[in-house]
Amino acid sequence: MTELREFARHSDVLQRLGVRLVPISVDDRQHAHDVWGKVAEEKFAILSDPGATVIRKFGLLHEAGHGGADIALRTTILIGPDGRERWRRVSQSVPDLPSWDETVTMIKKAQE
């Protein structure tokens, strides 16, 4: 959730870089709406994938990762204008999450 707050705080930077942020989780629509209002500050849409269909498509399922329920592995994926993946970072633990600075650096590097 901290990462989402960071994204919301720096949404103007993402806009300047021409990047559309698309957050996805297994949360249902109601909870996605709560996150949209209270965490994302209504700055970007929150997608709901309760069946983890898309999460599976990207190979990012953390089976029974939350009290027996399936969740997504915390992952950041940058997709270029051609629809190809340019950068993928799957976090291996909580401290392994990419910082905001690292994310911006990778975006700028990919856009060079």
Binding site: M1, E3, L4, F7, L14, L17, G18, V19, R20, L21, V22, P23, I24, S25, D27, R29, H31, A32, H33, D34, V35, K38, V39, A45, I46, L47, S48, D49, T53, V54, I55, K57, F58, G59, L60, L61, H62, E63, G65, H66, A72, L73, R74, T76, I77, L78, I79, G80, P81, G83, R84, E85, R86, R88, V90, Q92, S93, P95, T103, I107
Partner: protein, 133 residues
């Protein structure tokens, strides 16, 4: 033997009382703020509600207070160590960089359908998060 047993029983009861007070405070701070069970978005509410209770807990005197503080410290250290060192499972797709990202449609918070292919020509940052906050 009986005295030792009574002391141990008293200590356990006091610890249980303290722990249940803290748990009850946590729960009530969540419900008072109108949160759904299990979700919390405003850490300041939790801090405002719990701080006075933690302050009285931290200032408890005598061996019971010290024992209780030691237990809490050990639990916090252990949980922190587990959280920080337990690795997540490996992704099912090791790397897909330079490959076409799979297309998908999902509903957003308003029920509107999002289609990834509709953003072709733009940079997109997909952010998968764990959910269940």
């Amino acid at each position: 033997m009986n005295i030792a047993y009574k002391r141990a029983k008293t200590s356990t009861l006091r610890i249980a009382k303290g722990a249940s007070a803290v748990i009850a405070a946590s729960l009530s701070s969540g419900t008072q703020s109108g949160f759904r069970s299990g979700y919390c978005y405003r850490p300041q509410d939790w801090i405002r509600n719990l701080l006075p209770r933690f302050a009285s807990f931290a200032s408890m005197r005598g061996s019971h207070g010290q024992f209780l503080r030691t237990i809490v410290l050990v639990c916090l250290t252990a949980s922190s160590a587990v959280t920080q060192t337990t690795p997540y499972p490996k992704p099912q797709v090791p790397s897909a960089v330079a490959q076409l990202a799979p297309d998908f449609r999902l509903k957003n918070q308003d029920g509107k359908v999002f289609h990834l292919a509709a953003l072709r020509g733009h940079w997109v940052l997909l952010f998968f998060y764990r959910g269940y906050w």
